[in-house]
Each structure stands twice: as C-alpha cells, then as structure tokens.
Assembly symmetry: C2
Homo-oligomer: 214 residues x 2
DNA sequence: CCTACCGATCGGTAGG
DNA sequence: CCTACCGATCGGTAGG
C-alpha cells in the first residue's frame, strides 16, 4: 500500500510519478515535476518557513493548480521530508567522498569546510538550511529516516575532528567541539549573502584559519 | 497617535496597559498582563515558530479570549517585536556590565560566554532564540529598532574579540571571526536541552577552551 | 494533473 | 478585556 515515496538516488527518475505522464510544460521539458516541486519547495521553505509557505505558493511556482502537488506527495509534510532527504543524500555523498580521499588532515579539513559551505550557502542550495532550521515542522514519524542520514553526516565530521586532534591542529575533538564547529558553519546560513562580501573560497579559508592551530 | 508601544525597561510597568485595569486573574495577581503575553509568546514562538503560533494559542496560555491580546498589541507582529526587544534589552544590559568590569581578557571572555549561554539556553529564556530564528517574520518597519539594539550587542562582542587578539588568545578578530564565534554559541540553541547532559557552566568552560589558545 | 469544492482555522475588529 | 463575528485563506479531497 505504501511503498517508499522517495527515490534514494536523486539521479534516478521516480517510478510512481511516471505512471501517468502529463503534458510537459514550458518550464520543464523533461517532465520531472516531482523534482521541480522539491527544488521550488526548498527555496520557499527557506525564504518563508514551512508554515509560511502554502501549497498554493509551491504549485504556482511550478505552474500547477493548487490541488496538484498532492498527486506527487501525500501531504505538505512529505514534501518537507523530501527536501531534507534530497539535501542530505547529496551532502553525504560529497562528504564521504572527501573523507575517503588521500589528503593531509589540514587539506582534507579545508576541502570539507568548502564543500559544506557550498551545501549550506550556495545559490539554489536550500535543502540543508531547511533541514537545519525547519526541523520542528517535520512530524516524528518522518524524522526517523532523516535522522539516520544525519547521523552518518555527523559521523564523518567526527572522524575529521579526530584526525585534526591527532595532527595537533585542534585542542579538542569531543562531541561539544563538533557541535561548536559545525554550529559556527551552519549558522553562516543566517548571515551570509551569496554574491555579497566574501566568496565561498575566502570564507572557507578564514574558517580554517580561525579554527586550526598553526 | 503612535507613542512607542513598549517600555524600554522591563522592570517598569507599561503605561498604556494600566489605563483601564481589568480584574486580576488567578494566573497573575499583579495584573501585568502585557508582560505575561510577551513571556508566553516568546515560549510559543520558540517552540512552534511565529507562523505556527496562533493568537488563540497565546490568549489561551494567559487565560484570555482570542480577541483580547489586541487590546495590548496592535497586531501579531508587534508581539514578536516586543519579544525580541525584551530579550535584547536584558542581554545588552548584562553584556555591557561585563565589558565594563575589570577582569582579565580570559576571565572576561569566560563570563561573557557564560552570560550569553544563559541568555540563549536557560529555561524561560526564549527571547533571544526567537530573535535569532524568527527574524524573517518581523516586518521591515519593526526591524529598525531591533537592529539598533542588536548592533550595540555585536559591538560589545567585537570589543571582546579585539581584547582577546591583543592578549594573543585568538588568532583572528575580524568580523568573520566574530560571526563564527557567536554563530557557534547561538547555534547551541538548536541542540542544547536544559537539564540534559552538560550544565551551562560546563558548556561555557568547554566553549572557552575550544576557542582560546593557551 | 485540473476543476470544484469543503471544513477548519486564522488574524483582526466593532461594540460594549 | 469579553462577545460575537467576518472575510480570507489554508490543507486537502472527489471525481474526472
């Protein structure tokens, strides 16, 4: 009755949405309306909050009528879950790839910070900010799957901190240290404006310099 | 026609609300209903967000009927502004007092961090978290007064960073350093649960240790 | 995916 | 501060 409503690889087209392909609109020649809804919802949820965004807002932005998003998602909360999962799957892939690479701890940290900043601050990357700041709007039954992915994300950062500690580049690598470090970066989503002031590269450099000894 | 709707010192009773004193309810013998509305709203805005909180929620929590909060506030946004101002006025007073004290840079930093953690994390201290995470719900015309207070708050922290730099306790005291440092602390409002795990004193110690050299 | 719609809820107000 | 209320909007659904 209820197969998992989201594909785990964003590159693969969703099966259910393809069941009855509608006429393609001007806005989207390839007809992947579900992905459009997720992308647009991420932006609106970030700009106006989950409660401040209406289904009608979302529908209008992708050129649908107000009832149509419910053809793709059971309810509004499921859209929120899909947004968060989309961001985590992409971010986790990038993170795990970096952690598996053969760089020095310092280089690896710089790459990881740069990658995470991209995930949180780059234009069009609204998925993780929504995860970070709209968490309370996600019903508990939908939180479980997201938490699982988030734990894997945190684990990678914990490994990074451990390596930095071992290389004597930081003084502390406990859980609080990780929360403070990631908090500093995540909070940048509240003040950083793309295209104004620092570039992401410059911000990554300053962040590394601020946190690492030597 | 429009005198400033909020007193600047929370200790002084509001003048307009006292104009026509209603019967005191059980919940509040001293009859300061306006302060009750602000305190309760802060908690609800933090728990459920500004858009997720209804006037009826607020009214019910202080034992009013749904239309009555509008006797004290022009609209819902004015309540939000009052919540933010309440937090900033209190936080600013504490901060400026600490900065004016005669402590060593390290001691002063520890005291300041501890004070800010109290402001952001202690039970019943929901004002600043609302400021930090519901900012987008505040209409531009109401933002001005809050920004003024916030700038003074940031200025104190900037002074603190400058002193730490001079004492060679941190490597960088630019604006980005300040944003990263305060971001790390402010983000703790997202994960810290009072009464669980670390105490505020322990967290303050770990935060100081994490950020300061030597 | 659209049309047409429903029941519930919301911010806010008039008048006392 | 309450009573009584309004117009607008919202999430969601039936049926095609």
């Amino acid at each position: 009755m209820s197969t998992p409503p989201f594909p785990h690889t964003p590159t693969k087209a969703p099966k259910r949405a393809a069941r009855k392909r509608p006429l393609a609109t001007v806005a989207d020649a390839d007809g992947n309306r579900r992905a459009d809804l997720i992308r647009v919802s991420a932006r609106l949820f970030r700009e106006k909050g989950f409660d401040g965004t209406t289904i009608r807002d979302i529908a209008a932005e992708v050129g649908m009528r107000s009832g149509s998003p419910f053809y793709h998602f059971k309810n509004k909360q499921e859209i929120l879950a899909a947004v968060m999962e989309e961001g985590l799957v992409a971010g986790l892939e990038a993170t795990e790839k970096i952690m598996a690479s053969a760089q020095s701890p310092r280089e690896k940290f710089r790459t990881l910070v740069r990658s995470h900043l991209e995930t949180v601050l780059a234009e069009g990357h609204d998925f993780i900010p929504v995860l970070l700041y709209e968490w309370r709007s996600l019903p508990p039954d939908l939180q479980a799957r997201i938490i699982e992915l988030k734990d894997r994300y945190d684990l990678q950062w914990q490994h990074m901190l451990n390596q930095l500690k071992q290389a004597k580049l930081i003084r502390n690598d406990g859980k609080v240290a990780r929360l403070l470090l990631l908090g500093a970066i995540n909070y940048s989503a509240q003040w950083y404006k793309p295209g104004k002031g620092l570039s992401l590269d410059q911000l990554a450099d300053q962040t590394v310099e601020f946190f690492l000894s030597n």
